[in-house]
């Protein structure tokens, strides 16, 4: 029986890394950008685990544990930052923060308007079914 060659795992890691890069550059939601960075880390982790397996050595796995540690720290800080940014602008859009760009850079503007949100179907209008009967207020003897 032949084992899977090493480069199969490396290809999967490379694809996840590239997808994460695209997501980080293209998306504008702060949280999705963060998740894309985490996906890039996952791609790197697959590489490290594969090298550890094909070298018979645990050092790669130890590296992944440190990646997980750093990712946890990063998640805590990113969550705090995102909460702070959301409180200031009431939106998760990164482009709201584009006054932080370098001097001399053009501001990006969204030219194409968003299509109007589909209107929700109106609630059915119910006719009152009848007169509410009078009833005695409940008494309790607790």
């Amino acid at each position: 029986m032949v084992a899977l060659p090493l480069h199969h795992y490396l290809i999967v890691g490379a694809i996840l890394f590239a997808l994460g890069l695209i997501g980080f550059l293209a998306r504008r939601n702060l949280i999705i950008m963060f998740l894309c960075v985490e996906m890039m880390l996952q791609g790197v982790s697959i590489n490290l685990a594969a090298f550890a397996r094909y070298r018979g050595n645990l050092q790669g796995q130890a590296f992944i544990l440190f990646i997980v540690t750093v990712a946890a720290c990063e998640a805590a800080i990113a969550l705090a930052l995102i909460l702070m940014l959301y409180r200031r602008q009431h939106s998760l859009d990164v482009s709201k923060w584009q006054e932080l760009r370098e001097p001399g850079e053009e501001a990006t503007e969204d030219t194409e308007p968003l299509p109007p949100a589909p209107r929700e179907p109106p609630l059915p209008h119910l006719t009152p079914a009848g007169v509410e009967p009078e009833h005695q207020p409940e008494e309790s003897h607790v």
Partner: protein
């Protein structure tokens, strides 16, 4: 080894299209699926993406082995890639977070295939259990109805897709070259080994000499081995010694056949160790490495214990051995990691504190 890998000349189109074809389809799919105010039909992008995935599976790996391991590998990696594409292209951030959970889970499946069960458990607990759940909380806090700039627009979808797939293309190209070189060299070694085996099976010295070739000829077996070993000095020396002892055997010696077989057996052993050395960059011999994390990189690849698939053996008690490695080789990094967690906790609290 690596220099000859990079300096070998690039052959024409034949090598390019197995990489370029799936990449183009994948880039088109991601470009069509990225969120924008006037979206393209989802079906086009999805169909193109599936085509890209199938093409990549067939053209890039060319594997025809069907074992439980390969089937699990294929399903986990396809799941990871599809979920990754969903994460990048999904409008609804809550669904994107769930797609990321799927990426993490299928990566954990790959970790299991790579003999890392402790990492699988850690990753599920930390990522799927903690990170995603906290981020879902924030998403729910920030949720609002209708379309928004944050979720339904992308920055420069065309340029971004090009950049990402250009990076992927270069990575895949190098990996493909590497794999091709290793396969070619393995086939060459196997061919020579089978020739040596055939020669050793013959019953007279004259037949063996005929099988091996005239001395001095380029096609002679020993010359071929010498040429193959030119990057490994020790193997080269030993194969030259074998060649000398082969020519020193006297024809009239009654034990000539046994002696020749012995020389051929040595040669086969050399070839076997060369097979394990392919693609294996050795560390410098005088660099200190401990044995606490498994065989250190200074150990020659042919001296590592391997299973019947040819992979190095890993300890079954993964967590115990990983702990041994962490608290011997990586003691200082573990302490630093703890410190980093503490600093991150303090920093997160300080940033998120409401100052009113």
């Amino acid at each position: 080894m690596f220099f000859c890998l990079l300096s070998a000349e690039i052959s024409p189109a034949a090598q390019w299209w197995p990489i370029v074809l799936p990449l183009l389809a994948g880039a088109a799919a991601i470009y069509l699926l990225l969120p924008r105010p006037r979206a393209y039909p989802v079906l086009w992008g999805a169909a193109l993406g599936l085509v890209a995935l199938m093409l990549a599976g067939v053209l890039l790996t060319r594997s025809s082995v069907f074992s439980p391991e390969t089937i699990l590998f294929w399903s986990f990696s396809f799941l990871a890639i599809i979920a990754g594409a969903l994460l990048v292209t999904q409008h609804n951030p809550a669904r994107a977070a769930l797609a990321f959970a799927l990426v993490v889970l299928s990566t954990c499946g790959l970790f299991l295939l790579l003999a890392a069960p402790f990492l699988m458990a850690t990753t599920i607990i930390v990522y799927a259990g903690a990170i995603i759940v906290t981020f879902l909380f924030v998403l729910m806090l920030a949720a609002h109805s209708g379309l928004s700039d944050a979720d339904d627009r992308s920055r420069e979808p065309l340029l971004t897709t090009l950049a990402g797939f250009l990076l992927l293309g270069t990575l895949l190209f190098v990996l493909q070259r590497y794999d091709q070189r290793i396969q070619e060299s393995t086939q060459e070694i196997d061919r020579l080994l089978s020739r040596a085996h055939e020669a050793a099976a013959l019953n007279s010295r004259a037949d063996m000499e005929e099988k091996i070739g005239k001395p001095g000829d380029d096609e002679e077996l020993f010359n071929q081995f010498n040429k193959l070993f030119h990057t490994w000095k020790d193997l080269h020396q030993r194969s030259e010694q074998a060649s000398i002892s082969w020519s020193n055997i006297d024809h009239n010696d009654p034990r000539a056949v046994e002696k020749s077989r012995e020389v051929l057996r040595d040669l086969v052993a050399l070839g076997e160790s060369a097979r394990y050395r392919l693609g294996w960059l050795p560390a410098a011999a005088d660099v200190p490495f401990s044995h606490m994390s498994g065989p250190p990189p200074t150990v020659a690849s042919e001296n590592i214990r391997r299973d019947e698939q040819g992979l190095p053996r890993m300890p079954a008690d993964n967590a115990a051995y990983l702990g041994r490695s962490l608290f011997s080789d990586f003691l200082l990094p573990v302490e630093l990691g703890g410190l980093l967690l503490l600093v991150a906790t303090v920093g997160a609290i300080a940033i998120a504190l409401r100052r009113s």
